[in-house]
């Protein structure tokens, strides 16, 4: 009973976090599902989003504006991966890892910028670095904070709704369609005059923009940013995407509208948050989450394969 009550009490927080990570998952969806590229940049670009937002706020930028600045910087991170992948012809996974590595340093430098604000800074480093940066809601008018989970949930919902509408519109445009074609069949796309390199770079930029934006919201929600924050984030994103996808296909057997599919990505993220909260409330160490996440992703990714295998076996028996 106590357990149930504590789960119920944590629901607004679960929803808020699930929605913020839902935006992150939408970014992952753009590369993983639409462009057919597994982009590992996101592990670092989400931290870039956190860092940029926190530092912007510390420097007095409006917290809402700070999130948009994070979006733009996130796009630059995506452009870096795109440059590695299309211009230098490095395979996508490796390109993402290289970006991730570069961004680690860049994130440290961004967070190091806070040292210029300290009046009696003792640091005499040429380029100051920092693994953390904090901006508390007591000092700044943050748009979301874990201290008010209900309003964080509402803000998260508004962001998600606007972003889904934006993506729905964008992927219906001529340019958006060329991105979809690039992911679906690059040979055909080029034969129809689509610059697939440009489409890939833009898709990576767009994706990492949303990832960084999610980072910006999460930074405000948790009151700061931390260099270790993004480690393994791609798995959380993938978990949300595959949980949402499997659910969506189960409910809409004839294929769903694009906006519905996007909504299910966010639903996937909400379910993931719920599982995470469940693990914590049960009393397990949060470090178990990574193993659990990996298992969830593996199960959901392999489920469609097992389905066809058993169907084939059944058909054989019938014959």
């Amino acid at each position: 009973m106590n357990f149930l009550i504590s789960m119920l009490n944590s629901l607004p927080g679960v929803a808020a976090e699930g929605l913020f990570y839902g935006i992150f998952a939408l970014g992952v969806y753009i590369t993983y599902k639409i462009l057919d590229v597994a982009d590992l940049t996101v592990d670092a670009s989400i931290v870039t989003g956190c860092a940029v937002t926190t530092i912007c706020i510390l420097y007095g930028v409006d917290p809402l504006m700070a999130v948009f600045v994070a979006f733009l910087v996130g796009m630059l991170a995506g452009a870096l991966t795109g440059f590695f992948h299309t211009f230098l012809k490095i395979p996508a996974i490796l390109a993402g890892i290289l970006s991730q590595f570069s961004l680690y340093t860049i994130n440290m430098i961004i967070m190091g910028l806070q040292s210029h604000l300290e009046e009696n800074s003792t640091s005499n480093a040429l380029i100051p670095m920092s693994p953390t940066a904090y901006a508390s809601v007591s000092d700044f008018a943050l748009i979301v904070s874990s201290r008010d989970k209900t309003s964080a949930m509402i803000v998260g919902f508004i962001f998600v709704a606007v972003i889904i509408a934006l993506l729905y519109w964008f992927f219906g445009t001529e340019f958006g369609c060329s991105l979809r074609a690039t992911g679906a069949n690059p040979k055909m796309a080029r034969a129809q005059g689509i610059n697939t390199s440009f489409a890939t770079v833009f898709g990576l930029m767009f994706s990492n923009g949303f990832v960084a934006l999610a980072g910006g919201l999460l930074a405000q929600y948790t009151g700061g940013s931390n260099i270790t924050f993004g480690a393994g984030a791609i798995v959380i994103g993938l978990a949300s995407v595959v949980i949402g996808d499997v659910l969506c296909n189960a409910i809409f057997k004839k294929g769903a509208n694009f906006a519905v599919k996007l909504t299910f990505v966010v639903i996937g993220s909400l379910i993931y948050s719920l599982i995470k909260r469940f693990v914590i409330n049960v009393g397990l160490d949060t470090n178990f989450l990574k193993l659990i996440s990996a298992v969830i992703v593996a199960i959901f990714l392999s489920a469609p394969n097992f389905k066809t295998k058993s169907a084939r076996k059944g058909a054989k028996k019938g014959a």
Binding site: G172, F175, N185, M188, A191, Q192, G193, I194
Partner: protein, 265 residues
């Protein structure tokens, strides 16, 4: 309209697997030429088309369309001049997108793709009308995913996509080879109809000598990366399959018995 000047292409140059695919090939197509291309495996037919489409860069030589040197144009930039249908029905269409969406992508070939709608209601109605001409019933399932279509249906769709915006040159790379004979005939007839109605210039690779003789006004035979026989007009009309085999024998000498296997009647 199309001019190839001394085009060379070698694969795996400098290795034991070195293979000369095109050896100093020059070719000029006139407006309205419909050229069928025959030759054994490895003769350089597909490479020739890939040089035109820009799928692969040339090692040496020049490619011109209507006097414009497109040798250094990337594939997507050349697409505005070209309509292409591939051997593999999977290649020409995006399986996860609708029939209408595929056609809408093709309609915008060579145009800047901005933030206008990717497809409009008016266009969809037009697509239905164009599709109905083929009598495959595709117009009744215009929003269906292309992945659900058969190989023949996909080739017809690719053909329509290639010619929806009139291309300067239509490239057909053995586009009926992966289909069953009945479907192949249907697709070939559809191709012929589209070429005639739109007065297209086209290059068609085929393994079928009868088709090579029946269709088009000009025939090219390739061997070992060279054009060994180029015939058009009345002379082509009077060609027969034995004539072609004889020609083939003349040029190939000893290797004939091997290569003949590759050229089905």
């Amino acid at each position: 309209m199309l001019e190839l000047k001394n085009v060379c292409k070698t694969f795996y140059a400098g290795t034991v697997n070195e293979r000369v695919a095109l050896n100093d090939v020059s070719l000029t197509l006139n407006d309205g030429d419909v050229v069928t291309i025959i030759g054994g495996n490895g003769a350089g037919k597909s490479t020739l088309l890939n040089m035109v489409s820009g799928t692969l860069p040339v090692d040496a030589g020049q490619v011109l369309i209507d006097g414009v040197d497109i040798t250094n144009y990337p594939e997507h930039k050349r697409a505005k001049f070209l309509g292409r249908v591939f051997q593999d029905p999977m290649t020409g269409t995006a399986a996860s997108m609708g029939i209408d969406e595929n056609l809408a992508l093709a309609l915008r070939r060579g145009k800047r793709r901005g933030l206008g709608w990717g497809i409009t209601k008016k266009e969809r109605a037009e697509f239905c009308e164009r599709l109905s001409e083929f009598g495959l019933g595709l117009e009744t399932r215009i929003t269906a995913k292309v992945g659900l279509l058969s190989g023949g249906q996909r080739q017809v769709l690719t053909l329509l996509m290639a010619t929806l915006k009139k291309p300067k040159l239509l490239l057909l790379d053995e586009h009926t080879a992966a289909l069953d004979p009945k479907t192949a005939k249907l697709v070939l007839e559809a191709t012929d109809k589209i070429i005639r109605e739109n007065n297209l210039t086209a290059m068609m690779i085929t393994h079928n000598m009868n088709d090579a003789i029946t269709y088009g006004n000009r025939l090219i035979m390739m061997m070992d990366g060279r054009i060994i026989y180029d015939v058009s007009g009345e002379e082509k009309k009077s060609l027969t399959v034995p004539d072609l085999l004889k020609k083939f024998e003349e040029y190939s000498g000893g290797s004939f018995s091997n290569d003949r296997m590759m050229l089905s009647k």
